[in-house]
C-alpha cells in the first residue's frame, strides 16, 4: 500500500515542475498503451460478434444431431458426425496424454530434479511444444496412417502429441508448488516414496494439474492441421475409434473454402459450436484455478 501512495504523491508533485513536452510525451505513451489493448480487444470482439451472429442462423439442437448433407450446396443443418468426432478424438487424446504427461512431470519433479537427463527432457519438452501442429499431423501420417489407415485414433495420437508437452510443463509447475513439508511428514510416518507421491503429492497438486490439462484439451479441441490427413471424412456419425471420422474444425476448414452460402452457414454454426465448447473448457479450468487459489 505504501508503494502506491509514493506513486500518487510523486505524480502530484510533478504537475508544476515537469516541462510541457515531457508531459505530452508521457500522455502520448499512456494513450498508446490504451490503444494497444484496444487493438487486441476490438478484433476479438469483432470476431466473436461475427461468429455468434452468423452462427445463430443455423445453430440449434437439430444442428447438433442431424447428419451433414452429402451435397454441400444443399441448405439446412447438420454437424452431428463432426460433434461426435470432435468429442471422440479429443477425449481419446486426453486419455493418452494426461496420464503420460503427469507421470513424466512426476519423474522430472520427484526423481529427476536437476540431473542431466531431467534437464534434457525439460529442454526437449520445450522443443516439442514448439513443433508446428501440421508437422505433428505429418508425423502421425508417416508413422501410423500409412500402415493402419485413417481413423479417429490416428487423429487422437496427433492431438496427444500436441498436448503432451503442455501437460508435462504445467503439471511440473504445480508439483513444484507442493511444500516439501508434506513429503517429509509422509516419509516420517514411514511411507515409501511412491506411496507419498501417489497419496500426498499428487492430491495436493491435483486442482492445478486438472486446470492445466483442461487448457491443453481446449487448445487441442480447436486444432485442425493435425487432423487434415489423419482422420479422413464421413457424413454419418462414427462412434468407433477406428475407421474414417470427421471433426468440427475439419468441417469448418472444408466449408470455408466452398463458394456455396449453405456450406458457409454450416461453417459459421460449426464455429459457434466449437467456440462454445472451447470456452466452456477454459471457463471450467479457470473456476478450478480460482478455487485452488482461494484455499
Amino acid at each position: 500500500m505504501a508503494a502506491i501512495d509514493v506513486t500518487r504523491d510523486a505524480s502530484s508533485l510533478r504537475t508544476g515542475a515537469v516541462s510541457r513536452s515531457r508531459k505530452r510525451r508521457d500522455r502520448i505513451a499512456t494513450a498508446a498503451m490504451w490503444g494497444a489493448f484496444a487493438a487486441a480487444a476490438l478484433p476479438l470482439a469483432f470476431i466473436l460478434f461475427y461468429v455468434v451472429r452468423a452462427g445463430m442462423h443455423l445453430f440449434s439442437y437439430d444442428f447438433l444431431i442431424t447428419n451433414i448433407p452429402i451435397i454441400s450446396s444443399q441448405p439446412g443443418p447438420g454437424m452431428a458426425p463432426a460433434v461426435v468426432g470432435t468429442l471422440l478424438i479429443t477425449g481419446t487424446a486426453t486419455l493418452i496424454a494426461v496420464p503420460l504427461g503427469v507421470l513424466g512431470a512426476l519423474y522430472l519433479n520427484e526423481y529427476g530434479k536437476q540431473r542431466p537427463l531431467a534437464n534434457l527432457i525439460r529442454l526437449m519438452t520445450d522443443v516439442m511444444s514448439g513443433v508446428p501442429s501440421i508437422v505433428m499431423g505429418l508425423f502421425i501420417y508417416t508413422i501410423w496412417v500409412l500402415r493402419y489407415g485413417l481413423s479417429a485414433f490416428a487423429g487422437a495420437l496427433a492431438l496427444a502429441c500436441l498436448m503432451l508437452p503442455i501437460i508435462v510443463r504445467t503439471s511440473e509447475e504445480m508439483l513444484r508448488l507442493v511444500p516439501a513439508n508434506l513429503r517429509e511428514a509422509s516419509a516420517a510416518l514411514g511411507s515409501r516414496t511412491w506411496r507419498t507421491t501417489v497419496r500426498v503429492v499428487v492430491p495436493a497438486a491435483l486442482p492445478g494439474i486438472v486446470s492445466g490439462a483442461m487448457l491443453a484439451v481446449a487448445r487441442a479441441a480447436g486444432e485442425t492441421a493435425p487432423l487434415l490427413f489423419t482422420i479422413g471424412l464421413v457424413s454419418k456419425p462414427n462412434t468407433k475409434l477406428f475407421g474414417a471420422n470427421t471433426a468440427l474444425s475439419a468441417q469448418i476448414f472444408r466449408n470455408a473454402q466452398v463458394p456455396f452460402p449453405a456450406a458457409q452457414q454450416r461453417a459459421w454454426a460449426a464455429a459457434l459450436t466449437l467456440i462454445v465448447l472451447v470456452f466452456l473448457l477454459t471457463l471450467a479450468s479457470r473456476v478450478i484455478t480460482a478455487r485452488f487459489a482461494r484455499k
Binding site: 498503451m33 490503444g35 520427484e110 527432457i121 513443433v131 469448418i252
Partner: protein, 318 residues
C-alpha cells in the same frame, strides 16, 4: 512377524518403489522418443523428394507438381514474410498491453485485461481463418488499394504496397497471425515486466521521471532479454501456424515484393495440397514439413536459450 516386515507390508516394498520410478522415467522418456521418431520418420518419407530435386529443393523458385518441379523457395519466402509482418505488428501491441496491465490499468481492470488475452489465446486457428476468408479478405482489398494509391510517389513503398485484385494476401495472413501471436508475446513480456524491482521504479519516479521516462529508463533496460525471447517465441509460433494462413494467403507459389499480392507459405501449402498429392509430390510436401520442423526448432531453442540466460542473470542479481 517383526516390526520391519510389518512396515514393509503396510507401505509397499522396495520393488513397488522402483517400479513406480521406472514408470515415471518411461513416461518422461516418451518425449525424447517421440521427438526422435518425428525427425526420423518425416525425413525418411521425404527422401524421395530430396533425391529427386537435390539441393534445388531449397533454392529453386519453381513449384510445378505436374511437371515434377519442386522448388520450395516461394514457400520459405512466404513464411518468412508473413512471420516478419506478424511480429512487427504484434510486438509493439503486446509490449503496449503488457505495460498497460503492469503500469497503467486501474487495479480492478487488470484481471479482465488478462482474461481478454486468454480468450484470444484459445480461439481456434480455423475460426480466425473462417473470419479472415469470409469477412476480412473481401472488405480489405479496397483498403489495400487506397493505401497503394497514397504511397504511389514513394519509390520503395510503391513496390511493397502495390495494387491488388484480392484481399487474400501476405499482408492479410500477417495481420491474422499478429492477432494470434499477441497473447503469447503479451503473457511472457508481462511476466518479465513483473520482475522489475519496485524500488528501481519508485526511485526513478522519486527523481522526477514521468511514468513513460520511468518505463524507458527502468522497465525496458531490465526486461530487454525477456522481450527478445518473447519475440522469438512469437516468431516460431507464427511460422508454424497453418490453417488460418492456408485460408487467407491465396495459394499462389511465387516470389513477389508486393505484400498486398497473393502468396503461399510452407504450412499452408502442405495443408492445401497434401490431400490430392501422391508419389514425389507427397514426399516433397513432407520435405517442406521437415524444413519447417528444423526452422521452428532452431528458433524455439534459441528463444529459450535467451530467456534462460536472462533468467540466470536476474537470479544472480537477486
Amino acid at each position: 512377524m517383526n516390526q520391519a516386515s510389518l512396515a514393509e507390508q503396510r507401505t509397499g516394498g522396495r520393488i513397488a518403489d522402483q517400479a513406480f520410478r521406472l514408470l515415471t522415467l518411461l513416461a518422461g522418456l516418451t518425449i525424447l522418443v517421440v521427438l526422435v521418431l518425428i525427425a526420423f520418420t518425416t525425413v525418411n518419407n521425404a527422401l524421395p523428394a530430396f533425391r529427386h530435386s537435390g539441393l534445388s529443393f531449397l533454392t529453386s523458385r519453381e513449384w510445378i507438381p505436374n511437371e515434377g518441379k519442386f522448388g520450395a523457395l516461394p514457400f520459405i519466402y512466404g513464411t518468412a514474410v508473413i512471420a516478419v509482418i506478424a511480429v512487427m505488428l504484434a510486438v509493439p501491441v503486446s509490449v503496449g498491453i503488457a505495460l498497460f496491465v503492469t503500469e497503467v490499468a486501474p487495479r480492478r481492470m487488470r484481471s479482465s485485461v488478462v482474461s481478454v488475452m486468454d480468450l484470444l489465446a484459445v480461439i481456434p486457428s480455423v475460426v480466425f481463418g473462417l473470419w479472415g476468408i469470409l469477412v476480412l479478405a473481401p472488405s480489405i482489398a479496397s483498403v489495400y488499394n487506397s493505401v497503394s494509391d497514397a504511397v504511389e510517389p514513394v519509390p520503395v513503398f510503391t513496390t511493397v504496397f502495390n495494387h491488388t485484385q484480392t484481399g487474400r494476401s501476405y499482408f492479410t495472413a500477417g495481420l491474422i497471425l499478429a492477432l494470434m501471436i499477441t497473447p503469447i508475446i503479451t503473457s511472457i513480456t508481462r511476466e518479465v515486466f513483473a520482475t522489475v524491482p519496485r524500488n528501481d521504479k519508485d526511485g526513478a519516479l522519486a527523481l522526477g521521471a514521468t511514468r513513460w521516462e520511468m518505463v524507458k529508463g527502468v522497465v525496458f533496460p531490465h526486461s530487454i532479454g525477456g522481450m527478445v525471447g518473447a519475440t522469438m517465441l512469437g516468431l516460431g509460433r507464427a511460422m508454424g501456424e497453418t490453417i488460418a494462413v492456408a485460408l487467407v494467403i491465396g495459394s499462389t507459389p511465387h516470389i513477389v515484393g508486393n505484400l498486398f499480392a497473393s502468396g503461399d507459405a510452407m504450412p499452408a501449402v502442405i495443408a492445401n495440397e497434401f490431400g490430392e498429392a501422391s508419389g514425389v509430390h507427397r514426399a516433397a510436401l513432407i520435405g517442406l514439413g521437415v524444413a519447417l520442423f528444423a526452422i521452428t526448432v532452431l528458433v524455439n531453442v534459441s528463444a529459450r536459450f535467451v530467456v534462460r540466460r536472462i533468467d540466470v542473470r536476474l537470479r544472480g542479481l537477486a
